[in-house]
């Protein structure tokens, strides 16, 4: 389907809600004017007069600061009618979410903006640029993308493209979490640095707490398949990570050390997805609950050996073949996000699952 008319709205997706993902949170709280300037620049390029910043409702301080920054931008002449004396005018509405992870999916976000329950829309049409907010063509982009724009305008697109390599140009923020000495948000040039740099270099993670060995890491948020220490030297690039069967995803890198319980970690991740499934699609709604309950009993002492096959079968029902990139039997990608950690953990650490079952609960307790 072709776009029916020029873009009508710009929507910024600031509904960052995945566990251990907090890079946009940093930009929202710490540099709201940078975000707003990026939104105005993008709106000018698109020639839209109305933009929305949809922020996760739990970001109380972020909401306060972005709204204050919007008010200041209006007073400064950077927003509103005839911005800085030009013929361009723009209004920004800051819209708080209501606590649903699913609203990070752009069509669910649009539904929520329209005042409806945050259900992902059936595709096609695949892109809000065709049919978006109020049925009009809409560009949806995220906080970090918008925040890049002032620097790009000041320094030129070529300067941005000169950083990184291939399809992964520029820099990217990574939220480093888990068993590292210095968890936090770090801006890193794409491809030119590796996961080992991010986790171990003193400028970034500084290594693991207690100088323990790394057991595994999640390269792109809890929706992503896990990597083992053999892939620490993989460059931080989209294609490089995809070739190894995972993704940079939400920009969160989660580190598990040699003493971390992978069963507990997996149970907690599946509990999150089960809680956040919107319930539209049966494989996700029912499957996530089954998976969470099976993971719970393995971690807490009621596990059975046949649960491992049951878990993989449930995962296969949500994401047939357990392939990468994933297939899906659901409207949105929350579904195939659920099997990533389960399949990774069982594939990489089957013996730890068996130890839990034979021990009658978590041996780490």
């Amino acid at each position: 389907m072709l776009r029916k008319s020029p873009i009508s709205y710009l929507v910024v997706n600031g509904d960052e809600s995945e566990p251990a993902t907090f890079k946009d949170h940093y930009l929202i709280e710490r540099d709201p004017h940078q975000l707003i300037e990026g939104v105005v620049i993008a709106s000018y390029a698109l020639q839209v007069s109305q933009a929305f910043i949809f922020l996760r409702g739990e970001f109380a301080l972020g909401l306060e600061r972005v709204q204050q920054a919007v008010n200041e931008a209006y007073a400064h002449g950077a927003l509103g009618s005839k911005i800085f004396g030009s013929d361009f005018s723009l209004d920004i509405v800051v819209h708080p979410g209501a606590g649903a992870y699913i609203c990070g999916e752009e069509t669910a976000l649009i539904e929520a903006l329209e005042g409806k329950r945050g259900f992902p829309r059936i595709k096609p049409p695949f892109f809000p640029a065709v049919t978006g907010l109020y049925g009009e063509p809409t560009v949806v982009n995220n906080v970090e993308t918008m925040s890049n724009l002032p620097w790009i305008v000041n320094n030129g697109g070529a300067a941005f493209a000169a950083l990184g390599e291939g399809r992964s140009t520029g820099t990217r923020l990574f939220a480093l979490a888990g068993r590292v000495k210095n968890p936090g948000v770090y801006e890193v040039e794409m491809v030119k640095n590796t996961f080992r740099d991010l986790i171990y270099d003193q400028q970034f993670g500084g290594g693991l707490i207690g100088d323990k060995k790394i057991k595994a890491f999640i390269p792109g948020g809890v929706s992503a398949p896990w990597f083992g220490p053999d892939l620490l030297d993989l460059p931080l690039g989209q294609d490089e990570v995809a070739e190894k069967g995972s993704m940079l995803g939400s920009g969160s890198v989660v580190v598990l050390d040699e003493d971390s319980c992978v069963v507990r970690a997996t149970w907690r991740i599946t509990k999150f997805f089960s809680r956040e499934s919107c319930g539209q699609c049966t494989p996700c709604r029912e499957g996530s609950g089954w998976i969470e309950r099976a993971m719970y009993r393995i971690e807490h002492g009621g596990g059975r050996l046949e649960d491992l096959d049951l878990l993989l079968d449930l995962c296969d029902n949500i994401s047939p073949g357990l392939l990468w990139p994933p297939q899906q039997t659901t409207i949105c990608v929350l579904g195939p996000s659920i099997p990533s950690s389960v399949n990774s953990a069982i594939s990489m650490f089957r013996n730890e699952f068996i130890a839990h079952i034979e021990h009658g609960g978590c041996p780490h307790d």
Partner: protein, 42 residues
Amino acid sequence: MATFSAPKIVSSRKDFDDSYTLSRYLETGGYIALKKALGMFP
């Protein structure tokens, strides 16, 4: 492999406690890009 000298594109104000304020933003080059962009053909 590692190149830590790349410019900080979105986190350049990380070390300022008041990085969220308009005054700090203006002192560190804020809204100059927007004025430049408004002079370009959209």
